[in-house]
């Protein structure tokens, strides 16, 4: 079945530094979604990318969808303590049920 993998699993970042987390799918995706889960919280939708090669920005967050629509990345610049949490990418399945297959997540810890 469809698999979605993310690296790194953990990211320790000094406050103010940049980092990137990567997401790879075993199958071509119609779109990719990114969610953020704060410690003890629930996944919160961040963004959806649909087009091949698409790049979207949300303030300090830059999301990219690969040309082959099988990979994606999230780049955060000037990391802040509010960026702490786990970032998941998720891809929809091909069946009608709209299920999302989540990656394992990148858990971000920020050192002040």
């Amino acid at each position: 079945g469809q698999q979605v993998m993310q690296i790194p699993q953990y990211q320790h970042v000094q406050e103010g530094e940049d980092f990137t987390t990567y997401c790879n799918s075993s199958t071509t995706l119609s779109n990719i979604q990114w969610y953020k889960q704060r410690p003890g919280g629930h996944p919160v939708f961040l963004i959806q990318l649909v087009k091949s090669g698409e790049v979207k920005k949300q303030k300090r967050l830059t999301f990219q969808f690969g040309e082959a629509k099988k990979n994606s990345s999230l780049h955060i610049t000037a990391t802040q303590t509010t960026d702490v949490g786990t970032y998941f990418c998720a891809g929809p399945g091909k069946a009608a049920g709209n299920k999302l297959t989540f990656g394992g997540g990148t858990r971000v810890l920020v050192k002040p």
Partner: protein, 115 residues
Amino acid sequence: EPEVTQTPSHQVTQMGQEVILRCVPISNHLYFYWYRQILGQKVEFLVSFYNNEISEKSEIFDDQFSVERPDGSNFTLKIRSTKLEDSAMYFCASSGEGLKNQPQHFGDGTRLSIL
């Protein structure tokens, strides 16, 4: 902003007992989902529900699991005979006004602890 609400926030149950987790999806949404997350692990799909029937389910969603939309607002997940490995956070989500692949809105979750 409309929210998905889940009750209870924490459920402690003896192994072998039945448990019902409740959710109120966002009112104009048409797709409903249950996911689970074992502590420290990724979010796993259980089931999706559309037009009053299951549209897709995972291999986790075996005969011990069932879902229901008993009225116009609630969406429930029942586990008939709980096992220790059912201990997890269970998230309800909803999406869409009839469109596929719309972002999913998650509730705060129910932490299920099986003793």
